[in-house]
């Protein structure tokens, strides 16, 4: 039978010291004259959420926004979604020719584009896979609902999120890649 390691007393005392020090730091964060005035709301590392909010980093995965004009109903996002939470319907329509005298074109028009955020697992594959710059991440996160069904965002709702999509940040120095533009 292997030797059972026994708890070492100095480590145990050190552990007690760590918790006590953290408590003291949280309760009495002030220095100088006000050292002994308890001010836990300054000392705590957390934020009291509904009253004060932290701004999420610009690349945070909050909600997915849809630029409807760019969507060609190619279904790549719906097919690659691991949760099958994207619902797309479209129909074919004819559009006027690009050049005078040309043939009328056939285009896909989007009828329905829903993302069910009750199912979405925020993997971002749809955003990655979209070849036409129609899907974007937005750092917005406050869209909880009282009813589960309300978490199904339709294409109007997804379109509204476009306003909250931040511009792409410039790449690292020396990168040859061009910075993508968010279609506004």
């Amino acid at each position: 039978m292997a030797e059972i390691p026994t708890p070492k007393a100095p480590g145990l005392v050190k552990g007690l010291g760590v918790t006590l020090k953290t408590m003291a730091k949280t309760m009495f964060p002030s220095r100088g004259v006000r050292t002994l005035v308890p001010a836990p709301s300054q000392g705590a590392a957390t934020v009291q959420y509904p009253h004060e909010k932290e701004t999420p980093p610009p690349r945070a995965r909050g909600v997915i926004a849809l630029k409807e004009d760019n969507c060609t109903v190619c279904m790549l996002c719906a097919r690659s979604c691991p949760d099958w939470c994207i619902y797309i319907e479209g129909h074919k329509a004819t559009a006027p020719p690009r050049r005078p005298g040309g043939r009328p074109r056939t285009v896909n028009e989007l009828d329905r584009f829903d993302i069910d955020y009750a199912l979405c697992m925020y993997c971002g594959i749809c955003v990655e896979v979209c070849p036409f710059d129609a899907l974007f991440w937005s750092p917005e996160y406050e869209y909880s609902e009282l009813r589960l069904a309300d978490l199904l965002h339709d294409k109007e709702r997804l379109g509204q999120w476009m306003e909250t999509v931040p511009d792409f940040e410039p790449y690292e120095a020396g990168s040859e890649q061009k910075v993508r533009k968010v279609p506004r």
Partner: protein
């Protein structure tokens, strides 16, 4: 005023009613205070967060909200469970706490019962909670509950011994089993002829105090001794199947028993309700005493929760090793040393 209060003669049933209400208030208020001060606030500060802040000023009404929530919840009894035992178990656990606190004196005349063998009685009734926990584990008809119940039984039996042996040292030194007698012995005692602060037994019985604290932690199944409810292994141990009001009872029992055991530890080792420099028999001690005892209870509970929020859980075999190979021999040595010194002086 206290003199005229003490002069009132009450019938036996009136006294009984008053005492029952008194114990009930003592248990519930103490448990509530401990939960708010230590579980909600101290634990949060130790983790660099604020804890509940929304209900009432600084979240002080949070516990009421929680209790309201628990009372509203459905009382689920599993289909296979032994219904009667299942329903009874939480009450047995809570009962043990009430019985312990009933024997702790709060002042020269402020006590619920004053038994000649007070500390013996306390140690005896404190193991009733094991029965409740075993009942809960067995009656739930759930393997996790049963494992938790058995773990609790094994642990509580293992740590009952060092606890009793640690108390023996105090009893030898005080020369009495009566709780009031132990308080008086500490208040009247002297350290090498210096009687300024009496002789709280934490000074002479520091080994006993250490053993008592460790085994108390285990008896209360507080971390690092919380294997009976080890959530990562046993879901929630013997409490797994409980919900609503009955879960609330277990919750109250957990924290009230911290208070009760802290009260016992404070009485045995910290001088109980007595304060150095104050007259033991004075009437005003009936008012000051409970406050002094409360402060001492909070001190001991602070240590209990401080340890709880610091250490990770023991493994089952390490726990048994600590009890049988370290604490019990140590407490036996402590008893022998106390005996020798008592005879020598």
């Amino acid at each position: 005023m206290t003199a005229s209060l003490l002069a009132i003669e009450l019938a036996y049933w009136q006294q009984t009613v008053l005492r029952s209400v008194g114990v009930l208030a003592a248990v519930l208020l103490l448990a509530g205070t401990l939960v708010y001060v230590f579980l909600f606030k101290m634990m949060s500060f130790m983790q660099s967060r604020l804890g509940p802040m929304e209900a009432g000023p600084y979240g002080s009404m949070q516990l009421l909200a929680e209790v309201g929530k628990w009372i509203q919840k459905e009382d689920i009894i599993p289909w296979r469970a032994d219904r009667r035992l299942f329903a009874m178990a939480p009450y047995v656990v809570v009962l043990a706490v009430f019985l312990i606190l009933a024997a702790v004196p709060f002042g020269p005349d402020a006590w619920f019962t004053d038994l000649d063998v007070g500390i013996f009685y306390v140690l005896a009734v404190s193991s009733i909670s094991v029965l409740g926990i075993l009942l809960a584990g067995w009656a739930s008809a759930n393997k996790y509950s049963l494992l938790g119940g058995l773990r609790a039984a094994g642990q509580l039996i293992a740590y009952e011994l060092p606890m009793v042996l640690a108390v023996v040292g105090v009893v030898i030194q005080a020369g009495t089993l009566n709780m009031q007698g132990i308080v008086a012995a500490q208040a009247d005692g002297e350290i090498f002829g210096f009687s300024g602060i009496g002789n709280p037994y934490i000074i002479t019985q520091f080994v006993g105090f250490f053993i008592f604290l460790v085994s108390m932690q285990a008896e209360l199944t507080q971390a690092p001794f919380d294997m009976p409810i080890a959530e990562s292994e046993l879901v929630s141990g013997y409490m797994t199947e409980y919900s609503g009001m009955r879960f609330l009872l277990f919750f109250i029992a957990e924290f009230a028993s911290v208070g009760a055991f802290s009260a016992v530890a404070a009485t045995l080792f910290l001088g109980g309700w007595a304060l150095p420099g104050m007259d033991l028999d004075a009437d005003y001690m009936n008012v000051v005493g409970p406050i002094v005892l409360l402060v001492k209870i909070m001190l001991v509970s602070f240590v209990v929760f401080w340890v709880r929020f610091t250490y990770p859980r023991f493994r089952e075999d390490q726990l048994q090793q600590l009890a049988w190979k370290f604490l019990i021999p140590l407490s036996l040595v402590n008893i022998l040393a106390t005996m020798a010194l008592k005879v020598a002086w």
